[in-house]
């Protein structure tokens, strides 16, 4: 089943706020061997929040994505400021682009991560490659 062609341009509801704790940052830093001095979280930490927005997209039955056919093709982050403990982050995902190449759907997503007061913290751009049945 192909992905719903009307997906391009669609924005999904913001995810429930994610409360960033020192312990969670420390766990992520240890898992990646990164330094955590109590200030900035490791640069790729926001994927934890963006991942929940991407999961909501991939699990939406109207979208038509089969999870086991999805490969992470590309990832990019831009930061207004580093993530720190105490942040309450929500991710709002928009499908920026959708194209078909060789039987695969190439889904360009942009997740805007904002703090509790709505200020921008980070944008996570992810390209998801959804392989077709025969690919």
């Amino acid at each position: 089943m192909a992905v719903d062609p009307s997906l391009a341009g669609r924005t999904f509801p913001a995810t429930e706020p994610y409360e960033v704790s020192r312990e969670k940052i420390l766990e992520f830093a240890r898992a990646t061997g990164s330094v955590y001095d109590g200030e900035a979280a490791p640069a790729t930490f926001p994927i934890v929040v963006a991942f929940s927005a991407m999961t909501a997209l991939m699990e939406d039955p109207d979208v038509g994505i089969s999870l086991h056919r999805v490969v992470h093709g590309e990832q990019r982050f831009t930061y207004t400021r580093p993530v720190v403990a105490g942040d309450r982050l929500s991710a709002t995902l928009t499908v920026d682009s959708l194209r078909q190449i060789g039987g695969a759907d190439i889904i360009g997503t942009r997740s805007e991560l904002t703090d509790a007061d709505g200020t921008h913290v980070c944008t996570a751009f992810a390209t998801l490659v959804h392989r077709g049945e025969d690919a």
């Binding site: 990646t32 200030e39 900035a40 790729t44 934890v48 992470h72 093709g73």
Partner: protein, 135 residues
Amino acid sequence: MTTTFEAGQALPTQTFRVTRADLVRYAGASGDFNPIHWSDRVAGSVGLPGVIAHGMFTMALAARALDSWAGGTGRVRELGCKFTKPVVVPDDDEGVTVTVDGTVKAVTDEGVQVALEVSCGGEKVLGQPKAVLRG
């Protein structure tokens, strides 16, 4: 400690050993429990040569190298890459070694542009990895 950068500068090579235990730890810390990152059986069933590292884990190692070069955390303003080749991690105590190199491309008011090269077993595993550090 803050590092001073200049265009053309080659940054010291960083090497990171990656074992299956690291992947399990990263799965827990990130919430990405895709079995291709811990089960040979599932990895093989989708045509992979074996369990592979999470692309985001490899990207986290690139971020770790950036922190090391910058002399501290929280200085990454942009970070992006394509996931072009899987990092296959064998089920042994040695694991594999991921190597991260970097070259300063430019130093502007926008920050320090760094071109990265991330490889494993002599082959590049990330496509066009690049970053901007706060100047």
